[in-house]
């Protein structure tokens, strides 16, 4: 089988370019120009690189010190949303664990004795190393109990076990109450809702 070569369409070099020396000098001029700019210019530390001004041309971010402003919809690490009394809103329905494509959520359910809702997570653990940050758990949650709005990346840890976050570590942020919360916590809701209680 014959090897077919693709036609190379290149602009022919001019006489000066073929002598190469002129282009060499021009190239060194460009790099030396950047060198002078960055050597003498005072660096603008604005994390938004495109908005930097001044003589300096540096386009790098010093990551831990200079952090880019994250966009509003950015998915960071998870948190469990607390309710008014400080317990998680989570009702241990397993929807997030079921939908999770990376299977990084582990839940053990327990039952409340004296509250309007039946279940709560005894254990709720997320392995942030397995998480692929798809956000399906947030979409699947019927109780708005898990969010990814912390704005933090997965943290650097010294061993794998430390990247698994338990319920206490995940529970943070302001308490949230929705008008659609059918059962109010602590006391039975009016109407037939009381029938759910044991």
């Amino acid at each position: 089988m014959a090897i077919q070569s693709l036609p190379v369409i290149a602009e022919p070099l001019g006489a000066r370019e073929r002598l190469y020396l002129r282009e060499v000098v021009r190239g060194v001029g460009i790099t030396a120009g950047h060198f002078i700019h960055n050597l003498f210019g005072i660096r603008d530390p604005n994390p938004e690189v495109l908005e930097r001004r001044g003589f300096n041309l540096d386009a790098a971010q010093q990551y831990p010190e200079e952090r880019k402003q994250l966009p509003p919809g950015y998915r960071g690490m998870h948190r469990l949303v607390p309710r008014e009394d400080g317990k998680p809103r989570c009702v241990a329905c397993y929807m997030c664990a079921t939908v999770c494509p990376a299977q990084c959520i582990y839940i053990e359910a327990g039952e409340y004795d004296a509250e309007g809702i039946e279940k709560y997570p005894v254990r709720f653990e997320i392995d942030e190393l397995r998480c692929i940050v798809c956000g399906f758990c947030v979409e699947a949650c019927p109780k708005d109990a898990i969010r990814m709005d912390t704005g933090r990346h997965s943290p650097a840890v010294l061993s794998r076990g430390l990247a698994t976050f338990d319920k206490e570590a995940l529970l943070e942020g302001p308490a949230v109450t929705h008008p659609t919360d059918v059962l109010t916590y602590g006391k039975p809701a009016r109407g037939g809702a009381a029938g759910h209680r044991t």
Binding site: P12, G14, R22, T31, F35, F55, N56, A60
Partner: protein
């Protein structure tokens, strides 16, 4: 610059890189002056070291030990070691990055300063010293261990013949920063430089690795090819100055042609400078001639080396940069001489201060050419192997041969003045070519160099 389009350069789009502020000018001037003063102080330390040892051990021994210490160990080695960091740091400046700055010294109050990346030097040394030494089981063990020394040793010797300063009185002693004042000068340089080929070739062979062998083969072919050019480019200089001794060559460059033109090699041999610079970069195996290393494909002749043996290869590369910059200065750019006004300056300063100033001039020039060499490395992509060979044998070698012929003819015809006139004419032509009108319109050439029509190639017709 990858986002720059053909129509609007990036600088104009973002409005960056325009208008240097006065604060930046003040700051830049201040640090430039500090740097130059630092270089002067360094030169003073070198000279004082030699003078002190001469007092202590007598003139001969003191000069021998002192100049080896100050010139080879303190100047070449320290500058070479600093260049390993400068290469990364200056490369980052060229590419609009920040470069290595994470190694920091635990000095109270200064802990957040990266000192221009200098602590990385210490980190690198510690890393190399503590790495495991590996020797390929099927390699030639003795040669494998010998090769780094063969690559590094001759390089160190090279600088011995370069004069860094004239004789000048200091501390009651007559001081001169040059290790050996041998009659064969340049021949010693060529001899020692060609031994360095052995180191790289043997390293490639003794490693018993395909990649190392490829690198070693490339290195031997390339370095031997360019040694021819390297030697021939300097023949013109030998004709002009009538000597092989580098200090006589430097002394010859203190004079003036027609009373105003400094008799620097650059004005006699502009073509030779270009050929020499290209050939020297090829000889150093540095980008754009770094095929023996070929980092991205074969890693090169030192692929099997670890720890400080690899470190020797690496540092010898940078030491070679210093040495070729020093040779470049001594041969083409007047050595330790200023272009004009040396006589009146000497009267003003007296011999001691003048000697120190000349030493400083040499150091500044050498540092500048080290910078140029590193900038070249960060500017050009690597040549293909056939391009390297074509450039060496078909362009630089004929150029240097023609240069020898023209220089010799001019010297025979009209002596140094004729050679200077020819050199100035060459320089004028080069300048006109480089800064002249933009390239010739391409449309007129397309008929002769049109790409082959890909409508119906013969291969298609056959099927």
């Amino acid at each position: 610059m990858s986002h720059a389009t053909a129509h609007a350069p990036e600088l104009e789009v973002s409005g960056r890189g325009r208008g240097i502020t006065s604060a930046e000018i003040v700051r830049g001037t201040f640090w430039t002056v500090v740097f130059l003063v630092f270089l002067f102080a360094v030169g003073l330390v070198y000279a004082l070291l030699v003078a002190g040892l001469q007092k202590l051990l007598g003139h001969d021994w003191g000069h021998a030990i002192g100049s080896i210490l100050s010139v080879v160990l303190l100047f070449v080695m320290v500058l070479g070691a600093l260049l390993t960091m400068a290469d990364r740091k200056w490369g980052s400046l060229v590419q609009d990055r920040l470069g290595p700055n994470r190694a920091r010294l635990p000095i109270p109050g200064l802990k957040n300063s990266s000192f221009g990346g200098i602590p990385h030097l210490a980190a690198d040394v510690v890393k190399m010293l503590t790495k495991e030494e590996t020797v390929p089981a099927a390699g030639a063990r003795f040669v494998f261990n010998l090769a780094p020394a063969l690559a590094f040793g001759p390089v160190i010797v090279l600088f011995g013949v370069v004069p860094m300063s004239p004789d000048f009185p200091l501390w009651g002693e007559s001081v001169r920063l040059q290790v050996a004042d041998v009659d064969q000068g340049l021949l010693v340089v060529f001899g020692a430089a060609s031994i360095a080929v052995l180191g790289t070739t043997l390293a490639g062979w003794a490693s018993n690795s395909k990649y190392a062998l490829l690198g070693g083969m490339r290195a031997s072919a390339q370095m031997i090819s360019y040694e021819v050019t390297l030697g021939l480019t300097l023949v013109g200089l030998m004709i002009v100055f009538g000597t092989l001794k580098l200090d006589e060559m430097t002394a010859g460059q203190a004079t003036h042609v027609w009373g105003w033109l400094p008799a620097w090699g650059v004005f006699f041999q502009p073509l030779a400078i270009i050929a020499y610079f290209a050939a020297a970069n090829a000889e150093l195996k540095r980008a754009p001639f770094d095929l023996p290393e070929g980092e991205s494909e074969i890693v090169g002749y030192f692929i099997e080396y670890s720890g400080l043996k690899f470190g020797l290869f690496m540092i010898s590369e940078y030491v070679e940069v210093v040495i070729f910059a020093g040779l470049f200065t001594a041969m083409f750019f007047g050595g330790y001489h200023l272009p004009w006004g040396e006589a009146s300056l000497a009267q003003l300063l007296g011999p001691t201060a003048m000697g120190l100033v000349q030493l400083w001039v040499f150091i500044v020039k050498t540092v500048f050419f080290c910078w140029l060499s590193l900038i070249v490395r960060w500017t050009f992509p690597r040549f293909r192997y056939d391009q390297v060979m074509n450039l060496g044998w078909k362009m630089l070698l004929p150029l240097s041969l023609a240069n020898v012929l023209v220089t010799g003819a001019a010297m025979l015809w009209g002596g140094r003045e004729a050679a200077a006139a020819v050199g100035l004419a060459e320089l004028a032509l080069l300048l006109a070519y480089v800064i002249g009108a933009p390239a010739i319109s391409r449309s007129g050439e397309e008929s002769s160099l049109a790409p082959p029509s890909h409508e119906a190639p013969a291969a298609h017709a056959a099927h």
